[in-house]
Symmetry: C2
DNA sequence: TCAGATATTTCTGTTGCGGATATATCTGTT
DNA sequence: AACAGATATATCCGCAACAGAAATATCTGA
């Protein structure tokens, strides 16, 4: 159980957006880019430089890997690793705590409470 | 209504931690640093470099200002501006959306803990 | 007064973001 | 089948932000 098996948080917004997108299933880069722009995806606007650069770092750090399969010559599909999933989960719990705290402080409009 | 009046998101983790801490009342740097480490503060560990550097940028961007008052020679107190509050609120709603989405996808344990 | 904690400042290396540019492949149209 | 436009990735590089160390000053309590 080395350090690299432990989720490291906090995550930057581009990293979170990518992991969140991949949590919905294997995707190629361009699809993640569009995913991220949506409100549910985190409303993050990434250009290609940020996307593919971040993707490389995520693979280097073992949070994401390529699937190796494709349905289109151009596309490269990516998948979360176990560490990637664990990291995403840890970050989401962290954020949930902050949001909850914010609600207590009255910083958020009444709704929420899914 | 210029651009600088509009909240800009997403925020990086250190920025969020600082704004969140200041939402609880005027604080000095060292206090924010300790605040940030707590789970409710976002569980972010910042050294002085990150803290004061980020604080300078927040003042430059008009999200935070100095109060000018102190109860201790060493301390410099900071306060959220209206833009700072609006930015924090926007970011929290953004994150709330992501967390909600994550819950739908079953990425979070049943009910978050306090 | 002395030690140790508190609080900030400054400096510098490193990382990661962000936009531009280039190229290749796919799709639909005629 | 050729073309236009959308899709998809690769790569480059300047700049902003983060991260840690080191130095300094002030406060607190024994």
């Amino acid at each position: 159980m080395v350090n690299s098996d432990m989720p490291k948080t906090p995550l930057t917004p581009p990293v979170l957006a990518i992991l969140l997108s991949l949590a919905g299933g294997d995707k190629h880069g361009y699809a993640m880019m569009k995913d991220a722009r949506t409100p549910e995806g985190g409303a993050v606007t990434m250009g290609p430089g940020t996307l593919y650069g971040t993707l490389d770092r995520l693979m280097r750090d073992g949070l994401v890997k390529e699937t190796g399969t494709t349905d289109d010559e151009r596309r490269r599909y990516y998948r979360l690793t176990a560490l990637g999933r664990a990291t995403l989960a840890a970050e989401l719990e962290r954020l949930e705590g902050a949001v909850k705290q914010a609600r207590v402080m009255g910083l958020l409009p009444k709704r929420g409470r899914a």
